[in-house]
Symmetry: C2
Subunit: 563 residues, 2 copies
């Protein structure tokens, strides 16, 4: 087996070397007139919602890219999604990749950006990783306007709703890795500054406003969801919503441009729509419904991805996003790396890059369980083995053979090293799966089941748990959910991405375990309940040596040190 | 005297009814090629710094619009600046208006936006008043990245600079009226969340990053100024600057687009450049130097404004911005309203709209002092009487006669009601003043005088004070300024805008008073010292009934209730 071509360039160097096409020419490939787009410079544009076309959506083939249980480095879902898009276009399928927008904060910490990698990137990479078209800033403002209105009402003498400050669950947000803001006390300094209370900042993608933007079907739906945001309780124990503060219109005004999907391009000049970036751990972790439908209105194939492993990302994508929006994916690509299989076979971090058939054999159980899970949704996945130079032929062949025994094609994907040319095999396999007509998406559960039952179905069927335990707090929360009449909402599981279970240490395919629901959060506006199965990080910190220190920008505006 | 035409439309209705030209056509009027601009939709664009042309700047006539001591409602400087631009274009002078960007936060409070009013507005009004092209969001991020780096360093075990948390003067910012963030405690919750300390948020325009962006000549100057931001002291009492945290490049990367001026249009299709919006109370209160120079590179006349009355805005504009950048204004327009003259003559708020020759006679002393002050800069102002329906002929005639006695033309300005057509008289007067060649700008003081002397010159010459008293704290601060070698910087006075003195109650032309410098702040990056003469508001609050409650946006995206 040929090794993938390696190269000596960083992602930003490859991206900067790319000769980009004018965005009006990218739009033209999708038959969009120049006058219909709103350009943001020469290489970014916003697309008007009027381009969404119900009929074309029905004809388009939606492909979800998900992954096995990932190692901390990630297994290359975004890179595979972009590469697959290049590959599909190469074999003659008019394809758009639809992705999440990266969060700006982590760029200055450890993590690089999220615009793909190597020769499978979306560009302009710097812009996409920084302010892009301002969507995150708009979401941040809408979130924080609601916060200001809440505290303004709490201290109002004449128009108070009687909000009990101790019950306020609505947090401020900032798209910055700033651990010092996790837990704060606000309103200090006397009567002019309001009522002191505990508060905290989450990072912007963790805002429910982001989750709402991603679930909204159109502008009036957006406003209604914003109005339904649950804030806390009055001293009389009555629930308070954003609409009680008449906040939803002003918030929607702040989102008037953010609701429009952003058009950019791949390195090979294919269309990419990048829009919305909710957290995968406490929210749905996938781009906006509007962006997905926009892509489907403009192409024959849409490739999209969902955050973390398939137990989290794919399950939420299928049971929440698809059910809510009526979308029906035709194929699922399950990204695996030999490295991650070694990990699930017990390899330590320093052994990840060392070939070991034994580790891969032992670790395959993880991938097998994910394959079984996708089958439960009525779909047969294609496995993409995201190639690394350290993969051995015998490891790859083993994976392909075992997948074949499960009725699944496993194809080596070389998008990172070769772009579209390294992805035509995967593209062919995906098209074959779609055209077989065998995929018939069905959700795992009905939304109108009881909350407990919905969680149990996911835990048993997807995680392989024996059952679910609910803490005292969770049981109290369940009662609140009943009283707020939120029990028909789907559940958006908040669980570690490192294991099928709620215990990071249980790699591979764990068995004989139960999962623990500690408490619930209610995203009444976004339209889901969030069972919390562990401590969820909502505001990252910076490392001892922040990435910002190594960045540079010269007088011509050329950036280096951004990854 | 004919009364100005009145109308029954709100600012937003007039703005929305306007037929805007495509921004590429506005650019074409300035001889800018379509390929040279970065469009942000059809009606906004960023201009590349390469269009700045030193030679053209020397040929261009710069006109500063300032005002007498204002009432709380403001006297219409922005409206007059825009109207004058329409008037100048009408009489054949190729003119661009260069203005500040409005802050988003106050839009949801009481204050309307800041895009002019009536028939003298810049459009698209909603965008300009909201996110516009994202400059404020970028400034906010750059400011808050530095904050995160400071707290990250304070809690670092391995790379600590030894910053004493009690001395940190660098605050976080948010463009929102959110009084609960004025005074907070951060870093609570244990070791993972850093070191607890007192902090607070200012509104984004109060950020020194904004002041720096407005003072920067180019990208390398921007970086250098960012690096020079003073943060606080180490436990060893050594000063700490942003460059000690290697923050300036990452901050500059966040400002790579924000540094480019924004092109929009007036209601009559003339060019408007809107860029930068620093506070007028603790900073220089005028648009970016880059924007002013851009406008001057592209037109024969540039009309610009500076915040608050001439004692603050014009003085800072002339002594800081002009001296720093080498700009030489050829004319000054002093905006006055009959209403404000009544106020300075002792009228109570409920009497502002009642004609009273006596009040106007008594109040004229305020305008007279401002006229005298402009003369001290080597320039002879033109007075613009911003017309209101309640002005009486005898009041207006009195003002014109008294101004004439001082050698100054006073012209009735009807931009609000009539647009450019109501401003040709003022335009003619301004051109006459410019073409007379009599104006020879000279600053009030030399930067290399002692800090105390610089303040005393301003206080005596401009405010009419008998002297300056320095508090104990101010005297200590003066020593720190010496030790940090910042004493050659100009002084950016932080004083109430309601009086020539530092006492709000002293209207008109007060005498027999001293002003009190309580303390200093150092904007070492922006390049000025800030003597604080009173309590300065840096984070506004929302009113009991926030403007946000009355806003609406329909499914087509049309906004109402924004003013």
């Amino acid at each position: 087996m040929a090794k993938p071509t390696t190269h000596n360039f960083s992602d930003i160097e490859i991206a900067q070397a790319a000769k980009m096409e004018h965005i009006k020419d990218i739009a033209a490939k999708l038959d969009i007139k120049e006058d219909d787009i709103e350009m943001y410079g020469k290489y970014k544009a916003k697309l008007p919602l009027s381009l969404i076309d119900k009929k074309k959506i029905e004809q388009c083939n939606l492909v979800l890219v998900t992954a096995l249980t990932p190692t901390p480095a990630g297994e290359g879902k975004t890179t595979t999604s972009i590469g697959l898009t290049e590959g599909l276009n190469k074999i003659g399928k008019k394809t758009t990749v639809v992705l999440r927008e990266p969060s700006l904060g982590p760029v200055f910490g450890i993590k690089g950006g999220a615009a793909g990698g190597g020769y499978a990137q979306v560009v302009p990479m710097e812009d996409i990783n920084l302010h892009f078209t301002g969507d995150f800033a708009a979401i941040e403002k809408a979130n924080n306007l609601l916060s200001a209105l809440i505290d303004n009402n709490i201290q109002s003498k004449t128009r108070s709703l009687g909000i009990d400050p101790r019950t306020v669950v609505w947090k401020r947000v900032m798209d910055m890795n700033d651990r010092a803001l996790r837990q704060i006390v606000i309103g200090l300094g006397g009567t002019a500054n309001g009522i002191p209370r505990e508060d905290g900042f989450n990072i912007t993608p963790a805002s429910e406003v982001m989750a709402i933007l991603c679930m909204a079907e159109n502008f009036s739906d957006l406003k209604e969801r914003l109005g339904n945001i649950f804030i806390g309780f009055t001293f009389d124990k009555q629930p308070v919503y954003a609409k009680d503060l008449k906040a939803e219109n002003a918030m929607a005004i702040l989102l008037k441009d953010a609701i429009k999907p952003n058009l950019v391009q791949t390195l090979e000049g294919n269309s990419a729509i990048i829009h919305g970036g909710p957290f995968a751990n406490i929210a749905q972790g996938t781009n906006t419904i509007i962006a997905t439908k926009m892509g489907m209105s403009l192409s024959d194939y849409v490739v999209t991805e969902a955050g973390f492993g398939a137990d989290l990302g794919a399950e939420k994508f299928l049971d929440i996003k698809c059910v809510s929006s009526g979308l029906k994916p035709k194929a699922v690509v399950l990204v695996a790396t030999i490295r991650a299989l070694r990990h699930h076979g017990g390899a330590q971090k320093e052994e990840y890059n060392t070939a070991s058939l034994k580790r891969v054999k032992d670790g395959f159980a993880n991938l097998e369980k994910h394959i079984e899970n996708i089958h439960k949704f009525g779909l047969n996945p294609v496995v993409a083995i995201n190639a690394f130079p350290t993969d051995s032929d015998e490891e790859v062949e083993f994976v392909q053979k075992r997948c074949a025994e499960l009725g699944v094609k496993a194809v080596v994907a070389r998008g990172w090293a070769q772009g579209g040319e390294g992805m035509t095999d995967l593209a062919e396999a995906v098209v074959e799966e779609v055209e077989s007509g065998k995929g018939h998406f069905k959700p795992l559960y009905e939304w109108n089941l009881s909350v407990k039952t919905k969680i149990e179905i996911i835990a048993k069927e997807i995680y392989g748990a024996d059952g679910v335990e609910f803490s005292k707090k969770a049981i109290t929360d369940l009662r609140t959910i009943e009283s707020l009449k939120l029990n028909k909402l789907p559940v958006c599981m908040a669980k570690t991405q490192k294991s099928f279970s709620d215990n990071d240490a249980l790699i591979g395919r764990p068995s004989n375990f139960v999962v623990n629901v500690r408490e619930f959060e209610f995203a009444a506006g976004a339209g889901f309940l969030i069972p919390i199965l562990g401590k969820m990080m909502r505001m990252p910190g910076l490392p001892a040596t922040p990435a910002s220190e190594g960045m540079n920008i010269d007088d011509s505006g050329k950036i280096s040190g951004l990854s």
